[in-house]
Symmetry: C2
Subunit: 206 residues, 2 copies
Amino acid sequence: MKESTIGSWLADLGDRTPTPGGGGAAALLAATGASLVGMVSSYTTGGKWADREEDMLKVKAEADLLRDQALALADADADAFAAVGSAYGLPRGTDEDKAARREAIQAALKGAAQPPVDTGGVAARVVELAEGLVERGNPNVVSDVAVAASSAAAALESAIVNIEINAGSIKDTEVVDGLRAEVDKLTGAIERARRVVERVREGLRG
Amino acid sequence: MKESTIGSWLADLGDRTPTPGGGGAAALLAATGASLVGMVSSYTTGGKWADREEDMLKVKAEADLLRDQALALADADADAFAAVGSAYGLPRGTDEDKAARREAIQAALKGAAQPPVDTGGVAARVVELAEGLVERGNPNVVSDVAVAASSAAAALESAIVNIEINAGSIKDTEVVDGLRAEVDKLTGAIERARRVVERVREGLRG
């Protein structure tokens, strides 16, 4: 994904092809949020920000890492999604075939639930970093803190629906319960992201 | 923007450079939403969808156009932002210089308010198209309708903060009032996007 042009990747996203899909989009949203957190921290170094420069360089380094993790998760999501497709494509001639296919589908669905969970985790961390920048970031770029939080919130919400559509086909109730617990965590991070946006907007209104 | 790789564009977004910034990110979010609307409509043609294929091909064509408009707006935003920077850089030696600089800054700020307004307009249209797909789109990709709406909501919210940070420096109260009216319209579209996400999630829960 990293090496695709934006135009061609989005054109592929918009076409009738299994991937990239909503999982890749969620990862792109998370990566966008991470990048903006990195940008704000980059603008909060030197001169009058000397007192917090060390912190900000750490934020920048973590933001770069989160961006790369998100982009790698887009690829992992595409692979996991392809595995689900392959499992559905297995032969179902005999009862043994059918049983093996059912099992392969269930295994692939469980595998496909992980990238959205991880994408949600990256986005939740982006929200935490954005929270720390509302007051401490360079106010000239405070609107970008809100854009970072909005992007992360969209990544979280997207991760949630991607988890939920998958969970709907998973039979193992323990796995489904685990995924529901992840959804609850990610839902909490959305609320925090919304609060970041509100705080920035209150500040802009003065 | 269209020809940049995702990796390099996001790296630039994360760096201490004036552009791309929050305006470009808002445009990317809108373009992502548009692409997903296009994808869902592409999956709602042929076979059992023959009754709505004509509509869906229209949605796909409009979604492609909206995506391209959003990407072009990212470039327009970068240009407008550069113009603001140039205006701030004008000489302020004499009183005439100062007056000319003030006027140039005000003109540039007004120009810079337009790309986020237009990006918000694209995102609002993406929400409308997504609304039409919750019931009528292929249910196999209904989660992507939610991701489209989430992306568009983030684009709208980002456009709003970009408008608001600009409006804070614009002296012409008529222009500021016009921008506030735009913000109100875009805020309504966010509510509609959130409702799309809720409806999709209710459907997934069954």
